[in-house]
Symmetry: C2
Subunit: 565 residues, 2 copies
């Protein structure tokens, strides 16, 4: 009896860490800290679908574990305003019972703007925090600290918990010369480290990259070279989320007396939010509308837009295709791709670049010169963070599994003991006490939840598999009206096929298929016994499938419909 | 009269160069040289489809221009045995009327092996050539010269034509220390240059890469480090076409007393061809079958396989998924990805790497250390080629448009006059005389011809667009049996839907859709006038489409079927 009690006490004294997304993947960041009955949420991000997830819009974290525990959620804190940290809020907040949210001014602005697209939801309970703000949420005392990234108002979290202090770095890089932001305050970081850090959870996105990330100042200088030498228009494409890069382009345009026209839905929206909140500064008269471009000489124009990833409907693609009304590429234009290429987008970006080059523009991209810097610390910075925080335990977060493994390796190099490092994945439950960190055997659901249009989580494996079959071979629907009395097919079966063969040139194939169907049905119904329609449909599927494969080496989805008339 | 004749004479004296593939893309290389009535073909490659070309196997060159000109083809020469130079032969050769083919011993071996998969074709008329072989085909005198690449038996072409000498470099790089091949013979190249080169057509694949390509010797040394330090099994994945890399792995395995098991259909086939022709050398007893792996200690095993690109059905993917019977990944294994990642495959390669790391192996890939070198000359080599050949005219070949542009820029740096450089694209006709090179306004068809199963060119835009619609939103077939006499729908309409929503959880949606269909039909047939079935189908499509979009924000392909009974 005594023993059991002791065990129980020890168990309730450990802190449970449950990553629901962002570990073993880039994006969809969400994590829970659970102490006794209290649960703290850190971030609620989404990610974009994999290639084979046809038709899917986003992937969001699975929150089944929180079902029925809504009362226990003490709050949710957000590190910064990128969608891989806030994008899932509209899809999750109702099911979470609208817990109190805490975010910086800019992050709050972006969250609220997006929320306006979901008018059926209740208003959010959101509180603005600043650098050094401290809040108490149940047993968690959270202090926000400034970190450089490529969006302003980005905060790491110093969390005092009953088992010890935890640091979550947020996405970060060290930058002594940032743009549109204050430099990293190393003294502040060291002061945090001196308070004693039991567990450091640090951003692994750059853990496979050697050295130190580029300073935004270096990027600025390289971009300035382009501005200095360009006599025609400058067309700059970047991510709409790279607020600091947008500021750089605007500042350079002002320096070189260029007006700035901006287009692209998210880009315009972000610039509007940031200007209202004073995170982007523009001189009076700098911004013009795209319609006004033609009023100014080419040397006085900067055009800032989305689409550096080759997104199909983004402005840069429309420009490259000659479909954008206010600007056509011509000789003398300089086009800047100021962003990295997201894995999977290489081919479309190449297509876009080629198309722009064909029209006579000069193209600058990050492989030619350093006109883009990632927002994530690289190996030397990551090691420095470990040296500053001197944690007892270490857990890499944010990134593909290979990045987590590489980050764990860096921690080893910084003399963190192997047994004190946990490489965890989504859904695993980690137990933390002052003495040890442990990957338990417990797992909570953390599989992908897919958003497709208005549906959240309703597209599962079956629907996706069907989409893949349809994508590869199209479909082949056979409709046979069968006479109830004679068991014979009335007239000729209808065939509806799409995405399989070009029908106009396949008349013989269709004719033969129809004949086969008539034969299959007659044979099965001819005996006079009770007709087994399921068997007939199966036979049609099997035999017509084999016939079409033999003739074409393709496998359309075959759907037989038998109507008794 | 005199004037016209003069014009005609000048015209017939120019050589026409017609690239049918490989310019503005990587792969699908094929080019025509046409002088008066004679046509020479250089290479017949294929390429892999773009992401949005759902279900397509390969893309091959469009040879419509040669239709009816079969008698004028004097022959086809092949530079080397990679599929982007020979892969389209089985799909084109019949339509070309089986012209005589000329290829090196290894290239011939690969061509003939592949041809065996197309038993319905006639035997090829193929002649083996060697380094320095000279052949005369109509007005073209072709001399083959050795070039380094990553497959042996690769030849550049020195072509004497009535207008002057043309050099086609083939894919190449300069390597003083190649593996499994002789070093670049610069004296030979210089000798060719001294004969006078009117036009140089040079490989642009590496034109955006600075400096010099890595020597295979460097790769060998880095691979040797891994062999020296590995105590467990070595699993090496590479392209099956990288014959020289395969030789390196075998040689290192022999040096470090490892047996080599090989698996993967194309890898085994290529090793077999190369061993038979003595292009890959193995000691007696080196090769074992995958079944025998378990007979040897881990430190004595190298496993060589395909799948470094994350191809779904390749051996490495099966190993990573635990589905390969003869080898399961375990701690102590070293997995080498000795190949670059083809644009578009980044995500699947990352998935594969992560999966292998999770199972405890160490992973080596080309981003961590130089264990892969491309087969293509980089900027310094390309400039050197131009300096050696000293051509009057220059035309970049093989590569994306941005690569051709970058290569043209290098030629300018090497003092080729801008007007003497032609950046051409597939299907454009280039006229060459001793005095000038000119991009004419004439264009021949060079669009993609898609191979899907047994169909060549029958999958066009309509079929592809349908596949994309089906891929994104699935399909929704509505079948209504309508009573001929009353114009009313008999019973409830059938709905067949796949890839749209999960049907079991969408019963209300389907019920409502059925009701709507009944209403649409009744309304249209109720008047007693002649029934316009096309109108009814259109209405069903429109109204049900709008209804489903409103309810789900998805757009399945809607196919109404009305059967009169």
């Amino acid at each position: 009896m005594k023993k059991t009690r002791k065990k129980k006490v020890r168990k309730t004294q450990s802190l449970r860490i449950i990553p629901l997304g962002g570990l073993g993947e880039v994006g969809r960041n969400m994590m829970l800290l659970e102490y006794r009955k209290d649960i703290l949420i850190i971030d609620m991000g989404f990610r974009l679908p994999e290639e084979e997830m046809l038709g899917i819009d986003y992937i969001i974290p699975n929150i089944s574990y929180l079902e029925g525990k809504q009362e226990r959620i003490v709050g949710a804190v957000f590190t910064h305003g990128h969608y891989d940290h806030i994008g899932a809020i509209p899809y999750l907040i109702d099911r979470l019972g609208y817990p109190p949210l805490y975010a910086s001014k800019l992050t709050t602005g972006i969250i609220l703007k997006r929320q306006a697209d979901f008018p059926h939801l209740a208003p959010l309970d959101i509180t603005e925090i600043k650098d050094k703000t401290k809040i108490n949420l149940g047993p968690f005392k959270i202090e926000f600290f400034h970190q450089n990234h490529n969006i302003p108002d980005n905060f790491g979290l110093f969390i005092e918990t009953p088992v010890g202090n935890i640091v979550n770095t947020s996405d970060f890089k060290f930058d002594k010369n940032p743009i549109n932001d204050t430099p990293t305050d190393f003294n502040r970081l060291k002061e945090l480290g001196k308070r004693g850090v039991l567990l450091l959870m640090s951003d692994s996105t750059g853990a496979e990259e050697e050295g130190h990330s580029l300073s935004e100042k270096q990027i600025f200088q390289n971009l300035e070279e382009i501005f200095k030498n360009s006599k025609g228009r400058i067309i700059a494409a970047t991510f709409s989320s790279l607020i600091n890069r947008i500021q750089q382009i605007i500042t350079l345009s002002e320096k070189y007396r260029r007006k700035v026209a901006i287009d692209g839905y998210t880009m315009k929206m972000n610039v509007e939010i940031c200007r209202n909140l004073r995170y982007i500064k523009t001189q009076r008269g700098t911004l013009i509308s795209p319609k006004e471009i033609k009023k100014y000489p080419d040397s006085r124009i900067t055009f800032l837009c989305t689409g550096a990833q080759g997104e199909e409907s983004a402005i840069l693609m429309r420009i490259a295709n000659g479909e954008y009304p206010f600007l056509k590429i011509k000789k003398g234009d300089s086009v800047i791709f100021s962003s990295s290429v997201i894995p999977g987008n290489e081919r479309t970006v190449q297509f876009l670049k080629d198309n722009i080059l064909r029209q006579g523009a000069i193209v600058f991209h990050y492989k030619m010169m350093d006109i883009h810097a990632g927002g994530h610390a690289q190996q030397e910075e990551l090691k420095k963070m470990i040296r500053i925080m001197k944690p007892k335990f270490f857990m890499p977060i944010h990134g593909q599994y290979s990045m987590l493994v590489a980050h764990a390796q860096l921690a080893k190099e910084e003399k963190i003991k192997e047994k004190n490092i946990v490489v965890a994945e989504n859904g695993q439950v980690i137990e933390l006490t002052p003495e040890r960190i442990r990957l338990t055997k417990e797992e909570v659901p953390a599989n992908y939840v897919m958003v497709d249009g208005l549906g959240i989580g309703d597209v599962g494996d079956i629907v996706l598999r069907d989409r893949q079959t349809l994508a590869n071979g199209g479909m082949f629907v056979i409709i046979a009206a069968v006479d109830r009395k004679t068991g014979k097919v009335k007239g000729s079966p209808d065939i509806i096929s799409r995405g399989f063969v070009y029908l106009k040139e396949s008349k013989d194939l269709l004719k033969e298929a129809r004949k086969k169907v008539v034969r299959i049905v007659s044979k099965a119904t001819g005996s006079g016994a009770t007709v087994n329609w399921i068997y007939i449909k199966d036979e049609i599927k099997k035999q017509i499938g084999a016939f079409l494969f033999k003739k074409t080496k393709r496998r359309p989805m075959i759907l037989p419909v038998v109507i008794e008339v």
